[in-house]
Amino acid sequence: MSNRDDDRKPLKAPENRGGGTGRPATIGASIAVRGELVGREDLTIDGTFEGQIAVKGCLVTIGSQGQVEGEIHAKTIAVEGQVKGNLIAEDQVVVRASGKMEGDIQAPRVALDEGCQFKGKIDMEPGVKKNEATGSESAKGGGEKSPGSGASGEKDDGDSKPASSASEPLKSESTEKDSSAQSGSQPPSGQGQIPQHGSGGGNGNRHKRR
């Protein structure tokens, strides 16, 4: 619990004291929380949360009944409920078919399942600061490429950016020289991995160029 007199001090997650059930921490459906939440384990929100969440290196799941208003920082974020606010992920953000989101996403990989609702901006190069006014780009320190990115040196008609990943392996378009590893688009096993629900991104259409 943060002390209101020390608002400038960032809240730190307690050191791992060992043990743990292996199950994600959960804000139950009947629970409403307002404030700042930090942690070092996966988190599922089935209730209501208003504020800021920082569980870097871990998975945050907003369940189908969950409602979040605020900003979330995590390794991977899966939205099945409602989110109003920005999502910043080190690896991936997935908005499921039942998800409703209004806000901006910063993540190397973003998946929008068919049927989801989304309003906002998507920045898949969060490590690169894009200056619209001057047209210059400068890399921020600490920007990292996603596991699925590759062939950064290849350019085809200026299309140098690798494919993002959906919740299913992304197939490259026919005109793309895209050598990004499809298997590499999946999050690593272990902490932070999104369980696959079967509904993938809506990229089922493949069209061969004549």
Partner: protein, 222 residues
């Protein structure tokens, strides 16, 4: 004599949605900025295909499902234009946000002329001179209940689901002249005729110019 054989039973597979070769898309790709990130606003339903397409090209991509903003239930029941004007969240992006390309897809077919003017006024603060708005405008007398789902399949091809079924609403019959007048200071820049009984329209943001459409209107059957 051999008995007649029953015809082979074929598997019924869902037919792929109609697609078309898009000259407008090719034109837009050629004209995208080379010295900075392409700023794109998609007014259709969230679509992974489109997200990936623009992400590969280093674009900053924003989405607002315009039709859902206007009719949240998405039941094709229509809406009240006066209620639309009261929508604070209609096409509201951060101050200073500007787009190079706005993809209206087929949504404008489902909006009356008064709504076009409102949308134009809400988009204008987020446009720069030369911003292009892409729209698919039907020539048919009737339209489906809801906008379709447009997917960019490759650099020349767009698939449009939702237009191969029943027509249940009258079309507003937007023409180039209507778009030019209703959406001023947007001006019809280019049009391309499609086999789907639609036109691709590129409508360019030109503040300070006469709203009457200028420039050649090109067509070509696809």
């Amino acid at each position: 004599m051999r008995p007649a054989q029953a015809p082979e039973r074929t598997e019924r597979t869902p037919s792929a949605p109609p697609s078309f070769r898009s000259r407008a898309l090719s034109y837009l790709l050629e004209g995208r900025p080379k010295d900075r990130a392409w700023q794109v606003l998609d007014l259709g339903v969230p679509n992974q295909n489109n997200l990936d397409f623009f992400a590969r090209r280093g674009a900053n991509y924003a989405i607002e499902d315009l039709y859902r903003t206007l009719e949240p239930s998405r039941k094709g029941q229509g809406y009240d234009v006066s209620r639309m004007e009261a929508l604070d969240n209609l096409l509201s992006f951060g101050e200073g946000t500007t787009f190079d390309l706005i993809l209206a897809w087929d949504v404008l077919n489902f909006l009356p002329r008064e709504a076009l003017a409102l949308i134009s006024s809400r988009l204008a603060p987020h446009c720069r001179p030369g911003t292009e708005l892409y729209a698919l405008i039907t020539m048919e007398a009737a339209i489906p209940a809801l906008p379709g789902n447009a997917r960019i399949l490759d650099e020349e091809t767009i698939g449009l689901a939702g237009w191969d079924g029943e027509r249940s609403r009258p079309s507003p019959h937007h023409t180039a002249a209507v778009l030019g007048e209703a959406m001023a200071p947007f001006v019809v820049d280019k049009t391309y005729l499609l086999k789907l009984q639609m036109h691709e329209f590129l409508v360019e943001y030109r503040p300070g110019q006469d709203p009457v459409a200028k420039g050649p209107i090109k067509g070509g059957r696809r």
